[in-house]
Amino acid sequence: MPFNLLVLACLAYVIFLFSVAFLVERRAGQGQLGWLRSPLVYTLSLSIYCTAWTFYGAVGYAARSGLEFLTIYLGPTLVFIGWWWLLRKLVRIGRRHRVTSIADLISSRFGKSNSLGVVATLMAVVAATPYIALQLQSVVLSFGVFASATPDGFTPPDAAQTAIWVAAGLALFTVIFGTRNLDAKEQHHGIVTAIAVEAVVKLVALVAVGIFVVWGLAGGIGPMLERIDASPLAGWTLQPGRWTGLLFLSGAAVICLPRMFQVMVVENADEGHLSRASWAFPAYMLAMSLFIVPIAVMGLERLPADANPDMFVLTLPLSEGQGALAMLAFLGGFSSATSMVIVEAIALATMVSNHIVMPAWLRLRPAAAMAGDLRGLVLNARRISIAAVMAMGYGYHSLSGGSAALAAIGLIAFVGVAQFLPAMIGGIFWRGATRSGAMAGLLTGFFTWAYALFLPSFGPDAMLPASLLAEGPAGIGWLRPQALFGVEGMDPLIHALFWSLMLNGTAFFVVSVLTFPGPVERLQGAAFVNVFGDQPGSPRRWSEGEAEPEQLLVMAQRLLGEDAAQALFETAARAQGKTETLLPDPTPEFLSELEQRLSGSVGAATAHAMVSQVVGWATVSVEDLMAVASESAQRMEYSAQLEAQREELARTAGALREANEKLTRLSVQKDAFLSQISHELRTPMTSIRAFSEILTEGDLPPEMVARNGRIIHEETKRLTRLLDDLLDLSVLESGKVSLSLGLANLREMIDRAIQAAEQVKPERGFTFHRDLAAENLFLRTDADRLTQVFINLISNARKYCDAASPEIRINVRIRGGRVVVDVIDNGRGIPKEAQSTIFEKFTRLPNEARAKGAGLGLAICREIVANLGGSIAYLPGQGGAAFRVILPLRLERKAA
């Protein structure tokens, strides 16, 4: 098969995946995921457990070690059919605490400790790098197979060059689809679906090769079984120690591997999916393993003795002249490698950015929580991390020369990630586990693994000197890496697994027992261990702070994006019974909720640090904890109904209080109204009267007469305008206004408004930032009335924006069938105490220098927008004065 065709097939396949991911992202954006969030997709996405190591390596493993390869799938099978024990709890914790990665889980459980997050991240990166290299290796090997096996083949491509192209391509794909959303809980629907598609491809490919081998080559099931018994594999003996150890190891790995944690916990869209996956995923692995032995047996039988058994899946069909089947198998292997690398890179990049880059950034620039575009920073950190992870995988690949058998590297990585097991299991089942314990366990396990398995795996004299391997450091025999404490003759892998987990677990337990956990640790410990228990609200981590809600909003907007942050704040404000404002009170409940949302973006430790920065470093003491505990105990005495009633009451009381305040304000304003009107009428009348008297007295020079006449004229116009506004307002308020509804283009309305507003302070050059494409939509509304609103808002911005280079930003978005128009200037904004009254009649801002107009503009705007079926509100925290108009896309005429 020509090389070009092969590359073309790869490219076409990648473009296909790309389109799948892209279309799904688009549907997700429109909120119509439907079956894409089904248990089926979830189960298939779990199949990234089966990497190229399964696809190619399992056959090689079987050819070398008989049925031992089965342990790699039997272990996870046990974990999944036993989901009620562990996975269920893990997924629940992950969802409730918005865990972003396995490092985040450990850091969050042990008091949101960032140092633990850093250690776990580094461990994950070190353990995963060889694994990524392994995937690159498999792609390179499979290219090589096609090069040498076909007569019309091509010169084998340079292995290093292939690897670099594959790594770069994968990095690009991952960056494009893996870093679109910030909140990890918003999930990567596109990627997950692409992974599910790849899962189907690799299963179909492997099964197709298997069917060909059993029925095409061996002649059916019976003859196949005979050949199995006749093959060299029949001499295999099961080594009980290794067998049991590997069962345990693979079971541990399936929950500790960063990529498995990512798809299983982080990307989980619905806890119910887990129950389906509990049997469907084992069934998938069964199907993947079914034909491994036949392929290995036939490969050994038919292919030359020097053929690499790791490539039997490809070489067997090729040598039998089945080019198309080989192509399918090649794509299957390619799928397995790419899906693993993509998810692994996302998982690692999330950890690196959340636990290393962000905390470092916040430490370097403590003010950064409030300023600067954090979203961009986080996303860029992730992009760079993805590239770095790929580069490390590539580096390892070229360093190791890519010669080692695939299975060996995979198992070494498994033992590495298994070091998370004690801290993770201990953390979610044992309240006594402490941060120091977890730290001691992780470090001990990690160093034992590196010393006894990882470093020696490079071969004698590569990383560790041969003398050290043979005699131990400084000749101390019982410290020999592969015979620790004098335990000799053990299988090196099982030896390392046993000692690393043993020392890890012991250190974790002993140090946990000896140390005393801090308050936040105890809170988190209780919340994790009792995740299914009755939790009276979320544990209280904040006392009623002196935080400014507006500052919190500014910070949240930087991380979650404006829409999401505003929606969050608005919901919280409504829940507190506040209907007028976007800003809720900074109650402890709200702060906890906010922190949880933020931790979905940047991890628990960073989110905690950022909220603390705004709220002030409120330290929780053990006494506070006890108070919380007794409070929650008391609360549990209430029946659920009583609790609900109490909340309802509190909400009603909040609403009533607000209504009362508003009524009081209104009655004062009603009183003021007459005197206001009187004032507004009398002022122009004073000028008119004075000048007309002067005119009637006569004997004025003609230019004075003209001037006085002009003043009288101006003031009369002002009077007329005032009366017009008042009448307009009273008609609008009574709701008897007649709207002329029709389809109108929003962009044209805004154009007209900008033009009409130009006569306000024409000497000030305003820069407009608009998104013409977004504005280009047709609304069914009253175009003249709506334009009037925009004129008013833009004129106000022109009047009051005091920035040196004034700017007006107009954002248009569609949200839930309604169009949202924001008009934002870059001036000083409206002081907080005035925000609630600016829409009232005759309200002018305090200290406002010579405001022309009677202060009716915004009141009229509010009435018009209400008549158009929408709402208008002041939008705090935008850096300047900002107004948000929300309108229905299609306004239907009210039934008379």
Binding site: I81, L233, G235, S289, F532, M636
Partner: protein
């Protein structure tokens, strides 16, 4: 901390669900037994047992576990929202 009161005896349906959960908890233990069992047998290839027999044994045991888990799953997920008994 005091726990909310629970009835000492349950109705028929909740009782079934509890037992289903017990069974689901036991299933992996049973599976582990099935998978480790061959380690206790005499090694294959010495005349008395054949490799093909081992292959068939593992896949049948595996398939049985999958089927039983599939039978348990719907009942378990329906029970999930209820309070825990552990």
């Amino acid at each position: 901390m005091r726990r909310p009161r629970r009835p000492m005896f349950l109705g028929r349906i909740p009782y079934r669900r509890r037992r289903l959960r017990d069974a689901a908890r036991l299933l992996p233990v049973f599976g582990a037994f099935l998978f480790i069992l061959p380690a206790l047998w005499s090694p294959p290839g010495q005349g008395q047992r054949l490799l093909s027999g081992d292959v068939v044994y593992f896949f049948i045991a595996w398939a049985i576990l999958v089927l039983v888990a599939a039978a348990f799953a719907p009942g378990l997920s329906a029970a999930e929202d209820e309070e825990e008994d552990d």
